[in-house]
Each structure stands twice: as structure tokens, then as C-alpha cells.
């Protein structure tokens, strides 16, 4: 906590715009900025931390998921608990025919959740606090949803769905209105997904950084050797919001997939 406090103070003194916590790469990049490798890593700190989080998830799955025992215990139990709850979650929205999307949605949720929580570990940064990462995730969801639509419905029914399923005279007359609206809606959905996730995680980041700076100022004013850890008062909020935002992202992706699938699961249109 003291290292983060000092590093945060250095970050605040460096740029007086929106305060951000320093991470390992920004501290290294500040010291060794003439080294091309360090400069490269510092410039691409979001993908570096995203790959790091992915490697951690892979390591956990490797350690506890290989050679699953028939009677699970310990780490395998936790993994099975997670997989089962994701299974129930996706099935509650898209019915039993939605089970084939559980791996995608489960991975999405776990990855986003761990990336959101990464800011709580001193020295790391949430890759999802930057719009670049979240737009990448939303583009993946967009292409997955459209490909599910085309694969499940076939090209004819896919365009029919996009045009609002015209059945009678009223339906066909409204097609020039419904088709652009639907297509625009399909593009707006990933934009709103990415902005919601990115801004929420960025706001948590800034909140932590502001409180760290405040704690340091208070500590200096009280002539302590370290700053006060004021950010612990806001860590429960960060935990809750990180989980909720990952949940909302996966839930909306599941809803979009369910909307694009054949219509026996839900009944509108």
C-alpha cells in the first residue's frame, strides 16, 4: 500500500489532468523511458495487462481443470460451481437451446470480471478502464451475435428478421423504416456495451486514484511517513461494481444472442 501511495503521488504530480494510479509498467516506463522494450510495453500497457489476466485464468484452469475427478474437491469444486452457475444463468435467458453459447458467455464474464478486479492488486491496471479494450470486446460480441443469426436462421430469415418480419400489408409498408432502424440498432448495441463497461471501470479507477492522492495529502499533513489508506473505504464499491458490470455485459450479450436465435424461446415480433 505504501508503494502504491508513493507511486500514485508521482502519477498525480506528473500530469494534472484526470488522476490515475501508477502501475508497474508506467513506473518502469517513467524510469527507463529510453529503453525501447520498456517504452513499447508502457505504450501498450492495456494489452499487456489483458494478456497477463488471460494467462492467470489459463493457469487456474490448467491447474484445477485437467484430469477432472468424478468426485470434485478443492479447486475443481470452485470451477464446477462457476461453470454450473453460468450454465443456469444463460439457460434462464435463452432456454435449453442456448446451452451452446455457455462457453462463450462464461469466458466473456470471467475475463471481464478478472480484468475489472485487476486494479485492486497494487502494480496492475484494469485493461477495461480504456475504451480500446471494451470496444474490442464489444466487436467480438457483435460478430458472434451476427454469425449466430446467419448460422441459425439462414440468410433469408436473417434479413427477414432485420426488416421486422413483414407479414401483412402494414409490415411490408413499414420495411423502409424498420430495416434502417434495426441495422442501426445492431450497431448501437456494441457501442453502448463498450461505453457502459469502459466508463464504469474508468470511474472506479479514478475514484481509487483520487482517494489515494487524498490519503497521501492527509498523511503528509499529519507528518506521517506514509499516506493514510483512504481507498479501503471504497474497495467494497469497486468490488460490487466490477462484478455487476461484468454481469451486465454478459447478460446483455446473452439477450442479444437470444434475440437473434430462432423464435421458439421468446414470443414477440
Amino acid at each position: 500500500m505504501a508503494v502504491e501511495a508513493v507511486a500514485g503521488h508521482a502519477a498525480e504530480a506528473a500530469e494534472s489532468s484526470i488522476p490515475e494510479l501508477s502501475n508497474l509498467l508506467s513506473v518502469l516506463g517513467g524510469r527507463l523511458h529510453r529503453n525501447p522494450v520498456v517504452a513499447f510495453l508502457h505504450h501498450y500497457e492495456n494489452p499487456v495487462f489483458a494478456i497477463f489476466v488471460a494467462l492467470i485464468i489459463i493457469a487456474i484452469a490448467w491447474r484445477y481443470g485437467r484430469r477432472p475427478a468424478a468426485l470434485p474437491r478443492g479447486g475443481q469444486n470452485v470451477l464446477e460451481l462457476f461453470v454450473e452457475s453460468m450454465d443456469n444463468f444463460v439457460q434462464s435467458i435463452s432456454g435449453s437451446s442456448g446451452r451452446e453459447h455457455v462457453p462463450f458467455i462464461g469466458t466473456l464474464f470471467l475475463y471481464i470480471w478478472f480484468m475489472n478486479l485487476a486494479v485492486l492488486i497494487p502494480g496492475l491496471k484494469s485493461p477495461t478502464s480504456s475504451l480500446n479494450t471494451t470496444i474490442g470486446l464489444a466487436i467480438v460480441v457483435f460478430f458472434y451475435v451476427q454469425s449466430v443469426g446467419v448460422r441459425k436462421l439462414g440468410w433469408a430469415k436473417y434479413f427477414d428478421h432485420l426488416a421486422g418480419s413483414p407479414r401483412g400489408v402494414v409490415g411490408w409498408v413499414l420495411v423502409p423504416l424498420m430495416l434502417p432502424l434495426h441495422v442501426l440498432g445492431e450497431f448501437i448495441k456494441p457501442v453502448s456495451l463498450s461505453l457502459r463497461l469502459g466508463f464504469n471501470v474508468f470511474a472506479e479507477d479514478v475514484l481509487l486514484a483520487v482517494l489515494v492522492g487524498l490519503g497521501i495529502s492527509l498523511g503528509l499533513a499529519m507528518r506521517l511517513p506514509v499516506g493514510l489508506p483512504l481507498q479501503v473505504f471504497v474497495i467494497p464499491l469497486v468490488l460490487i461494481f466490477s462484478t455487476v458490470q461484468a454481469l451486465v455485459f454478459s447478460l446483455l450479450s446473452t439477450v442479444y444472442i437470444a434475440l437473434m436465435s430462432p423464435h421458439e424461446a421468446h414470443g414477440h415480433h
Partner: protein
Amino acid sequence: MEHGGWTYQMVLALCVPLSLALAAAASAFGLSRSVSTALEAISRQPEAADKIQLAMIIGCALIEALTIYVLVIAAILQAKITG
């Protein structure tokens, strides 16, 4: 450009906190409605409490996201107040 002595920094300093307060108030209205309806539904049917709570959390996250958009714009504009 000055009109009667107002600079854009003064206008920003007036409007940015005001916009944030407006967004917070509007979001408080929306959230209070959603939470109170969820509480009534739970009191009416305690065995469905888990599902209702889940739906309430998701609804609150969606409403909160709108306030967060305003917060981020306010944070960006606030840096311009002191030039």
C-alpha cells in the same frame, strides 16, 4: 470570446458541477423507483427474492451507467477549467 466579462472557463465552472448534480438527481429518482418496486415485490413473494434481487441489480447497473457517462464527460471538461 467574452460577453459582459464571462470567459468560457467561468461558464464551465458553473455548468459542469451543475450537470453532474442534475444527472445524480435524475439517477437517484430512477433508482429509488426501481429499488422500491423490487422491495414491494420481495415482500409480496419472499420465495422469489433471489430472482427479483438479480433483476433489480441489473436494472440499477443500467441506470447507473447513464450517470457514469455524465461523470466521465465532467471529469474531462473539469481539466479545462484551469486552462
